[in-house]
């Protein structure tokens, strides 16, 4: 979960709270972030699957795009992403990717329309590059406001709605992938019913100086406990969700990553985004490789980088792998040649030089539990 960094680590508005809670802090994407609290990753994972967990995701990049006079921010953003952004109704949210001319993924992101502007949330490790990319291409059409100091709290789990609705009753009826301005503890926040655990929950964007008191207020709810990045990773893996820099990057296209669902139907036909020719060709003819779920036999854990073989021949690599606490067993995802990608295909994962039998399986590993009303 940690990675090398240059210079002093940045802190989120919740740094003091993490220390008070006894978090183990590690470097992550240039920030000092909690990987776990004293209860540990397994307990935090179970807490999020059975009750509610609060995650500090303030390191992620929040950017506001507002169309200049006579311009549409949504149309402008569509020149950088394959998602249907122009079709977003006010209060609707979508998942999409910044692509390059080769169809590779520069980053993945969430976009919400408030009606008069777009709120974009990007990955922490990519946010400076993403901002430069947006400025380079959209400055003529959009006002671009990075809001990197704001707080972003993810409240996730089956009891997240009960806990947050006690403070803000209106969130109870919000549907998955919608957003709204709400007042929490006297502060104006933007809440979306979304997250990255595969479960129900919310992400709450707060003013920088209100993140700490709002986090404390949420933690004071009986359903809620603090959760670190360790469990965030095991939760998203169980949900079959991609982690940028691991499962997707500039060498993978959205089609190879099986993210076709996130590309607007009209946009598949009309293109108009970077790499459209590559991506449209892959939609029509299929990509040479594909992201798949992998279920190893036994207890060995195949982690990122493990080779995937069929009959002794290497056909791909694991991009994320680990223990799935909800299932009590190891799971993995990775890329294999298209011809080997059918569900039920028997493969071997090479773990410390030894082949571990595994099967290609559909994802998610743990059923999604989104609230769709």
């Amino acid at each position: 979960m940690s990675e090398p960094t240059v210079g002093p680590l940045k802190r989120t508005p919740l740094h003091a709270l993490h220390q008070e809670l006894g978090a183990r802090l590690v470097p992550f994407a240039g920030y000092e972030m909690p990987v776990q609290y004293p209860t540990g990753i397994l307990a935090e994972h179970a807490q999020t699957r059975t009750s509610a967990g609060l995650f500090d995701v303030s390191h992620m990049g929040q950017i506001r795009l507002t169309g200049k006079a006579g311009q549409s921010a949504a149309r402008a953003l569509e020149t950088l992403v394959p998602g249907d952004i122009a079709g977003l109704q006010p209060g609707q949210q979508r998942y999409t990717q910044f692509t390059n001319e080769a169809g590779g993924i520069l980053d993945d992101l969430m976009v919400t329309s408030t009606g008069d502007h777009l709120l974009v949330v990007v990955n922490a490790a990519c946010k400076d590059d993403d901002l430069a990319h947006i400025r380079k291409h959209l400055s003529a059409s959009c006002e671009i406001e990075p809001m990197f100091a704001r707080g972003l709290l993810a409240l996730q789990g089956p009891l997240a709605a009960q806990a947050l609705a006690r403070l803000v009753p209106s969130v109870a009826t919000m549907k998955f992938m919608t957003g709204a301005f709400v007042t929490i503890d006297g502060a104006q926040c933007y809440v979306t019913r979304s997250g990255y655990t595969g479960g129900d929950g919310y992400e709450i964007s707060t003013p920088a100086d209100r993140a700490d008191p709002i986090a404390r207020l949420l933690l004071a709810q009986p359903e809620v406990k603090p959760i670190g990045l360790g469990a965030r990773d095991s939760l998203r893996l169980e949900a079959g969700l991609c982690l940028y820099g691991h499962d997707i990057d500039i060498t993978t296209t959205p089609i190879e990553a099986v993210l076709l669902w996130s590309i607007g139907k009209e946009r598949r036909v009309q293109g108009g985004f970077p790499g459209a020719s590559v991506i449209r060709k892959q939609i029509a003819e299929g990509a040479a490789r594909k992201r798949v779920g992998l279920l190893p036999e036994g207890k060995a854990i195949a982690r990122e980088g493990a080779e995937i073989a069929v009959g002794g021949r290497i056909v791909g690599k694991v991009t994320s792998g680990g223990f799935a606490p909800t299932l009590g067993r190891a799971v993995a995802m990775g890329y294999v040649e298209k011809v080997q990608s059918a569900n039920g295909t028997k493969v071997e994962l090479v773990v410390r030089g030894k082949p571990v039998p595994a099967e290609i399986v559909p994802m998610p590993f743990v059923k999604h539990a989104y609230y769709r009303g």
Partner: protein
């Protein structure tokens, strides 16, 4: 005899000519929740400092290096169903393997409890 420690945070407790090896309290805290342990087979000849077991936490896999050479007499089979014993009782039920020592002098370079405690303290 009393327990000794390596600077890789393994402990070894010797009775007769057999040493029992595990990881320290500090090591299990650093690893976090252990979910799988690959223990060595009885009969395997191992050299001092060789990686002979793997402890997998949710986060990462960690090699376990034997602090002494010899022949493995037993791997802790109970860890297959209860890997969390390493977290709950690292110096007891969470032992990983037993080794019949071929060179008892291997133990000379290891730390006693006081030296290991000071070593852990120095790590901050």
């Amino acid at each position: 005899m009393s327990v000794k420690y390596s600077n890789e945070h393994e402990w070894i407790r010797v009775e007769g000519d057999v040493g029992t090896v595990g990881i320290s309290q500090y090591a299990q805290e650093q690893l976090g929740d252990v979910v799988f342990v690959d223990v060595p087979q009885a009969g395997r000849k191992i050299a001092k400092g060789e990686s002979v077991a793997v402890v997998e936490s949710v986060k990462a896999a960690s090699d376990i290096y034997t602090p002494a050479a010899g022949e493995v007499t037993e791997g802790n089979a109970a860890l297959a169903d209860a890997p969390g014993d390493i977290n709950a009782d690292p110096m007891g039920k969470g032992w990983i393997f037993k080794v019949r020592l071929s060179n008892p002098a291997d133990l000379d370079g290891l730390m006693d409890q006081a030296a290991y405690d000071a070593f852990v303290k120095s790590l901050g």
